[in-house]
């Protein structure tokens, strides 16, 4: 009886959201998987030819796809590191007792308020005008030039802009985490004679584990999925040096008109990143300290 009541409450609390979620996200995703087994250009009236696993076999030999996958992984790993390092640093700064911390907190978060498309265009100006200007003035032309036209640097430009955009975002998550650490704990450690660095490593970091889980996961998922900044900043160029995964799928589906093949790519990539990120969540969750 009690058990039944418990299940009832469980359903009342979870079903409304899960129903909507299933309808809007899961069902279309599953339909998308179905299309991956067809040769089809995505036009409803044109023939859909079942071709089994051909699409999946084909992508193992698709050099552009493999390169794009590698670039995406590289981009994501670099971004996760920089975004979280910068975001955590910001969070520590603005939770210190400085008077202007509140103002700074707002300012640092502002980049995230701008939609990705226009942001890419703005940064084109920055790389083209500001970077070359700094290069001229300081004489450091080997560092400050238009990164977007260099096959090796364009990806870093993307990491740079992504970090700029996302650092304020993860900062919020870290702020919530830092504020959640009871003051007494840190105070006790101080009385016990722990140095600032020790307090950070031994107390703050372990207690921030939940925030790490969240931030790492968010940056991973946003990094893997990045599209609009990619489109407006580099457009995948120069010479496909920054064609990241979402753009590669997009080009396959809407550029080349290979809907089925594009879906196959999407699924393979989804399986890979799901494996990576879920492992990450699992590991960091284990390290969280239960309070």
């Amino acid at each position: 009886m009690a058990n039944r009541k418990k299940i009832g409450w469980y359903l009342i609390f979870t079903v409304p959201l899960l129903l909507i979620f299933t309808l809007i996200v899961l069902v279309p995703f599953v339909i998308g998987i179905y299309y991956a087994f067809f040769q089809w250009d995505g036009i409803g009236a044109n023939p859909m030819v079942f071709n089994g696993l051909d699409n999946f076999v084909r992508l193992m030999e698709d050099e552009r796809f493999l390169r794009s996958t590698w670039l995406t992984v590289l981009f994501t790993v670099l971004s996760v590191i920089t975004v979280n390092a910068v975001g955590l640093a910001f969070a520590l700064l603005v939770t210190s007792k400085l008077k202007l911390a509140n103002l700074a907190r707002t300012m640092l978060f502002m980049p995230y308020l701008i939609g990705g498309l226009i942001l890419g265009y703005i940064w084109q100006f920055v790389f083209l005008d500001v970077f070359t200007l700094i290069g001229d003035v300081t004489g450091l032309e080997s560092i400050f030039f238009n990164w977007l036209n260099n096959e090796d640097f364009a990806l870093f430009a993307l990491v740079f802009v992504f970090t700029w955009q996302m650092a304020g975002y993860v900062m919020i998550v870290y702020i919530a985490g830092i504020q959640g650490i009871p003051g007494e704990v840190i105070e006790a450690a101080r009385i016990d004679g722990a140095s600032g660095w020790q307090r950070f490593l031994r107390i703050t970091v372990p207690l921030l584990m939940p925030a790490f889980t969240i931030s790492l996961f968010l940056t991973l998922s946003y990094g893997f999925k990045i599209y609009d900044v990619n489109l407006s900043l580099t457009g995948g160029g120069p010479a496909n040096a920054t064609e990241l995964f979402a753009m590669n799928i997009y080009n396959e589906i809407f550029g080349y008109g290979n809907y089925g093949y594009g879906q196959a790519k999407a699924i393979v990539f989804f399986v890979i990143i799901a494996a990576i990120t879920l492992t990450q969540v699992y590991i960091t969750k284990k390290k969280e300290v239960e309070m």
Binding site: L17, V25, G32, T106, I114, I122
Partner: protein, 278 residues
């Protein structure tokens, strides 16, 4: 001595924030320039700070109407998201059975799906539902809200879930012993403690929904249903952008969110403080 040290730290902090913000300066400054001025120098001040591009942008965007649509969609979506996802997350976090784990993992796994890969089947389904059942999901603001809830559910549950895990269960147990129903326990005891994360969830969702272009552009057709990001499309030509209007439009778009953020961020801090005092 210490006062001076603090002073310089304050200045350093603001300087850093300003450097960080400098690209936004480009947006702002260029919303006052014509194409010739923009070409001459992207970084210079405009000849005059006239609001002509703002009023032109507002007129062409049908700003007031778009603004009301955006407010309506954002507020209603976020309220539903907060209510539904906090409830779901609490249940998932507090009942440690395998069903909850599977649901939770499924939710977060879907956060990795690029929207581009599901938009076509989604739109087929949505119009299919509208046609067969008559439920107006397509080309209505309510339909857009419904889809927003679905798309942002995962992130919100994820955030709540992490936070709920970190708060002590003892209070809830005490309330249960006092005879409160699950519903009562959640709304009277748990939800108030969640305030800081609720503020975070609200901020992040407000931004995502407020700025979203792709989903509204797919689901809304009628001109008078356009949200702000949709109405900015006039300024983006096939090959070129009307920079001053686009920048003015963008500034108009982000001001409401900035105001909202400034108000909401207090709740993150305050909420935590009060939660700890109990």
């Amino acid at each position: 001595m210490k006062a001076i040290g603090n002073w310089s730290k304050e200045i350093l902090l603001i300087l850093m924030a300003l450097v960080f913000l400098s690209p936004i300066y480009i947006i702002f400054i260029n919303s006052f320039k014509n194409r010739l001025e923009l070409y001459d120098n992207t970084l210079a001040f405009p000849e005059e700070f006239s609001l002509q591009y703002y009023s032109a942008a507002m007129q062409r965007m049908d700003f007031l109407n778009a603004f009301l649509n955006s407010i309506y969609v954002t507020v209603v979506s976020v309220v539903f998201i907060v209510i539904l996802s906090s409830m779901t997350a609490w249940m998932l976090a507090r009942s440690g059975n395998w069903v909850s784990t599977v649901i939770f993992m499924t939710l977060i796994a879907t956060m990795l799906i690029p929207f581009q890969t599901i938009m076509m089947p989604l739109m087929q389904m949505v119009t299919g539902i509208t046609r067969t059942t008559g439920i107006p999901l397509y080309n209505t603001l309510s339909g857009l809200i419904f889809m927003n809830i679905g798309f942002h559910a995962a992130l919100s549950v994820f955030l709540y879930h992490g936070f709920i895990k970190s708060i002590p269960i003892s209070l809830e147990e005490a309330a249960t012993i006092d005879g409160a129903t699950k519903f009562g326990v959640f709304w009277r005891v748990v939800f108030p403690i969640l305030t800081p994360i609720t503020a975070t969830v609200m901020i992040l969702n407000v931004i995502l929904i407020w700025n979203d272009f792709l989903l509204p552009s797919l689901t809304l057709i009628d001109k008078d249903l356009r949200t702000i990001p949709l109405s900015v499309f006039y300024f983006f030509g096939e090959f070129t952008i009307e920079w001053n209007l686009a920048m003015a439009g963008l500034t108009l778009t982000i001001i409401p969110v900035v105001i909202f953020y400034i108000i909401a961020q207090k709740y993150i801090i305050k909420g935590i403080g009060e939660g700890a005092v109990k």
